[in-house]
Symmetry: C2
């Protein structure tokens, strides 16, 4: 089974990487890009679990291992 | 308009971050997670362009700015 996990800086948290990219794009002529947020994306391969168990484990992993809940938020999806 | 861009290490390229996470998860009791690949995820806010122009610009940005084509591959999606 495959799971996708997205981890993004919270809306209320500054994202200096995203800001740097936005400035760079502006300098390269892409002035229409007004805002960039950069996050992390994970593809996990899970084996030997039912869909329900996988759902639970991936939820734990997303929230408690891959995300720093002080500054980040996450979502996940079981894809196949 | 909003665009999502995913940048992942190519399948043929080692992903040491992903491997480290997979090992850590295994040590934490998530032995069912057999493989982890870590990539980047960007949310771009684009203003003042038609959908077609945005599509073209985001394609350029994904391929030529956000991705290192030697070791990474990317895909993008205009979401709204």
């Amino acid at each position: 089974m495959k799971a996708h996990v997205w981890v993004m800086p919270k809306r209320t948290v500054l994202d200096p990487q995203g800001q740097t990219i936005q400035h760079a794009l502006s300098g390269l002529g892409y002035a229409s890009v007004k805002d960039v947020r950069q996050g992390k994306f994970f593809v996990l391969n899970v084996e030997g679990l039912s869909r329900d168990e996988a759902q639970k484990q991936i939820e734990h992993i997303s929230k408690e291992v891959l995300t720093n809940p002080v500054i980040e938020e996450s979502r996940f999806e079981i894809v196949e």
